[in-house]
């Protein structure tokens, strides 16, 4: 051995002190219980009025049915458009919120901590740019995800599982770690995210306390040297210590959780997407025969064949393995304290395989056939799976004690306007919606005025087009800047916009409530 016994004993004692100082990077309270953000970005323009855009939030709002699949209203479509489910505190929300799932907490529990910001004017009609603006309200400027990462001390500032032109921008130059694109059941994004800490630590002196202690002593001297030279960098040694600690501790405890957590979400999503026919009261609970060529039943760009019952579309079993993977990764990485911010996608109807007439067909992501009964059926089930996944995530976050500091933000490229005959609805950037779920929010709330009738013959009806209202002295529409300022205010992170207002305020009990209780159809 390189040293005599007394030095070894001394070094072992020193090592013990160092280990105590560095122990539990993940369990460090500021890492584990600090503010967390989950950004769920939906591809394309999914019809948000089936999910988080309450069209009649007060229950008695003026409502024009317009083009919501008029021909099918008697059987189906009315049920999936009106805000027919009433939350515990009286907010009327789309009926999917009442489609609970066995084994998952009632969706009402997520509604207890929900804010729906409707009638947000997206201003730009562009897939990529609008998706970016959900995170970066000013294109090229700071991002919400970066702002929250900036106040975090987590070993990994941010993870991007969306991987489509990352929107993460940090003022403090924090880095975002990319997890391979195409996250699915065959990849383990947790393992990929933790790779920096799992590939090293194999050298001989890791196992010998004396070597480690000696290296630490030399590093202390180099710290002193740099400080005296006025060229030290605050946080550098601490970051090395945290990295070293994670490497030594091993992070297999996180990667080993993958299979169980992934299977949990897969089970939830499978069950949500594939209900027994007629098991959801008021929702497609009748046989719906399909006549070939009838555009009211069109799905994607392909006309439907003759079907005895539209609901047989799902007979092959709908699956969203990618969604299960991203939610599982978010749960493990956020509740463990490894990561502060997760940017993730949600598949929606993208790549869902359907089997009309026994023939399997894929369903695109863009929902250009919004308004058809077929799309209403599939989209509602997809949203049911999203709510079930978020509720499952919330339950895990509550169990870990992190829900009170966790914010889920949902966004998409725009909303979509509906058409009667399903011949192809269009983008609705002026009817965008953002919903926020967090243990910080007390109760369910909806903020934002929308137009009762947009006055467009192609797209008549109330579907969320933004309208002016008084926002702290200004008569205007909601904008993404307001959304950003609301989230950063709740998070206590730096502002990323120079205008816009927070729509929430502290309620004096540690929670947040709406500053403006305005949600009218005008």
């Amino acid at each position: 051995m390189m040293m005599g016994l007394p030095i070894n004993v001394l070094m072992a004692a020193l090592e013990s002190i160092i280990n105590q100082a560095h122990a539990g990077v993940l369990d460090n309270p500021s890492n584990k219980y600090g503010v967390k953000l989950v950004q769920i970005i939906m591809p394309g323009g999914p019809p948000r009025w089936m999910f988080d855009l309450p069209l009649t939030p007060n229950g008695n709002d003026q409502f024009m049915a317009g083009s919501f699949g008029n021909a099918l209203q008697a059987d189906t479509t009315t049920n999936v458009v009106h805000s027919s489910f009433k939350s515990r505190n009286g907010l009327h929300v789309p009926p999917v919120w009442g489609m609970n799932l066995a084994g998952v907490s009632p969706f009402q529990s997520l509604l207890d901590n929900a804010l729906f910001l409707r009638g947000v004017d997206g201003e730009i009609d562009n897939h990529d740019l609008n998706r970016v603006r959900a995170d970066q309200p000013v294109l090229g400027g700071q991002s919400i995800s970066g702002s929250i990462a900036d106040i975090s001390s987590n070993p990994i500032a941010a993870i991007d599982m969306l991987n489509r032109n990352s929107t993460f921008i940090s003022k403090n130059n924090k880095a975002v770690s990319f997890v391979d694109s195409g996250v699915n059941g065959n990849t383990n994004p947790v393992s990929r995210a933790m790779q920096p800490f799992t590939q090293g630590g194999k050298v001989f002196y890791r196992a010998q306390p004396g070597w480690n202690a000696a290296i630490e002593q030399a590093l202390d001297q180099l710290d002193l040297y740099a400080k005296n030279l006025n060229s030290a960098k605050s946080g550098l040694r601490e970051n090395y210590a945290a990295a070293d600690s994670l490497i030594k501790e091993g992070v297999t405890a996180l990667t080993d959780r993958w299979t169980g957590v992934y299977n949990k979400y897969l089970g939830v999503i499978d069950a949500a997407l594939n209900p027994t026919k007629g098991s959801l009261p008021g929702f497609f609970d009748k046989v719906i025969p399909v006549t070939a060529g009838d555009n009211r039943f069109r799905l994607s760009d392909t006309a439907m064949p003759n079907m005895t019952d539209l609901r047989d579309l799902t007979s092959r079993g709908l699956q969203r393995r990618g969604d299960a993977a991203t939610f599982a990764a978010a749960e493990i990485l956020l509740t463990s304290g490894a990561v502060s911010t997760v940017i993730m996608g949600w598949g929606g109807t993208n790549n869902i395989a359907l089997s009309p007439g026994g023939n399997t067909m894929g369903l695109g992501h863009d929902q250009h056939t919004t308004g058809s009964a077929a799309m209403s059926l599939v989209m509602n089930l997809a949203y049911r799976s999203l709510i079930a996944s978020m509720t499952t995530f919330m339950d895990a976050s509550k169990a870990a004690g992190t829900w009170n500091k966790t914010i889920i933000q949902t966004g998409s490229e725009f909303n979509r306007n509906p058409r009667t005959d399903a011949s192809g609805a269009d983008h609705a950037p002026n009817a965008s919606t953002v919903s926020i779920y967090s243990g910080m929010i007390n109760g369910a709330a909806c903020v934002g005025n929308v137009v009762t009738d947009p006055g467009n013959n192609n797209y008549r009806g109330t579907y969320g087009v933004s309208a002016n209202f008084q926002i702290e002295g200004e008569n205007r529409k909601l904008r993404f800047n307001d959304v950003a300022r609301t989230i950063t205010a709740m998070a206590g992170s730096p502002d990323i916009v120079t205008n816009g207002v927070s729509l929430m305020k502290p309620d004096g009990t540690g929670g947040w409530v709406p500053k403006l209780k305005v949600a009218n159809n005008v």
Binding site: M1, M2, M3, I7, N154, P155, I156, A157, N163, R164, N165, S166, F168, S170, N172, N173, K174, A175, V176, S177, F178, P196, F197, Q199, G200, G201, K202, V203, F204, Y205, W211, A214, I215, Q217, A218, L219, D220, Q221, L222, D223, L224, Y225, A226, N228, L229, N230, S231, A232, K233, S234, G235, L236, R237, N239, Y240, A242, A243, D244, L246, I247
Partner: protein, 247 residues
């Protein structure tokens, strides 16, 4: 004497008075040098405007943070120490291609390589080797321009250092930078050789304090007959120390 002639005489005098405190003083330089290169108790650095009439209360406090080097610097520094032509992949995989951790967006020109000179001594046309040095994609284009220290970056650096010292050829090359007889005859762990090692990473920086040499000597059981493992630990220590990455 005309008015313009008075001006010609007065102007240089005023200029000297105004800017005398900005001129290069040998004493000031020494003072600054002392404050930087000596340790607690030495005179602190001060600004020119603090000379003379400006009191302690009026001193303006400024703070600054050193910039953390980007992947290009880390790449070239490590390659110069360890690279013998065969080990580039270690640095490439962990540092050069790790744009989000080590920063600076990719330049399209990083992927261009110049082929060997032709028979006439002219360089052949440059060719594009997509992804060989830096994949030009959205991730890399969004990489931070001024990278900062991150836990993940330090983990990657630690792994890079570990991989380099565990690579026989790379470690041999590093040892040769200490003594040309290495690796056949390992250099003794004298203060002079430890200073050589230090200077490989901390380029053009003044020698460290005595405490550093004392701490480094703990790594060696016998300074006169060091083992390869002991030198590996010494290289690893300097490599992961981080401050060498600061500009």
């Amino acid at each position: 004497m005309s008015k313009s002639k008075y001006t010609l005489l007065i102007l240089p005098a005023v200029t000297i008075l105004c800017f005398q405190n900005c001129s290069m003083h040998a004493d000031n330089e020494k003072t600054m040098e002392n404050s930087v290169f000596t340790y607690p108790g030495a005179q602190q650095p001060h600004e020119d405007r603090e000379h003379g009439v400006v009191g302690e209360q009026a001193k303006r406090k400024t703070t600054s943070q050193a910039l953390v080097a980007d992947r290009a610097y880390v790449d070239s520094a490590l390659a110069e120490i360890f690279n013998n032509g065969n080990d580039l992949n270690i640095i490439n995989n962990s540092v050069v291609n790790n744009v989000s951790a080590f920063g600076t967006p990719c330049s399209l020109y990083m992927d261009y390589a110049t082929s060997a000179r032709n028979a006439n001594g002219q360089e052949n046309e440059t060719r594009f080797d997509s992804g060989t040095r830096c994949a030009v994609d959205t991730q890399s284009l969004n990489a931070p321009i001024n990278p900062d220290s991150q836990v993940t970056r330090e983990a990657y650096l630690s792994f890079t250092c570990e991989s380099l010292i565990e690579n026989t050829a790379a470690m041999d090359n590093g040892l040769r930078r200490i003594a040309s007889t290495a690796p056949a005859v390992l250099p003794p762990a004298t203060d002079a050789n430890i200073l050589k090692l230090f200077s490989l990473f901390y380029r053009y920086k003044p020698a460290p304090q005595a405490g550093f040499f004392q701490a480094m000597r703990v790594l060696f059981a016998n300074s006169n007959t060091p083992t390869r493992d002991e030198w590996k630990a010494a290289f690893y220590t300097l490599c992961v120390s981080g401050h060498w990455q600061l500009n």
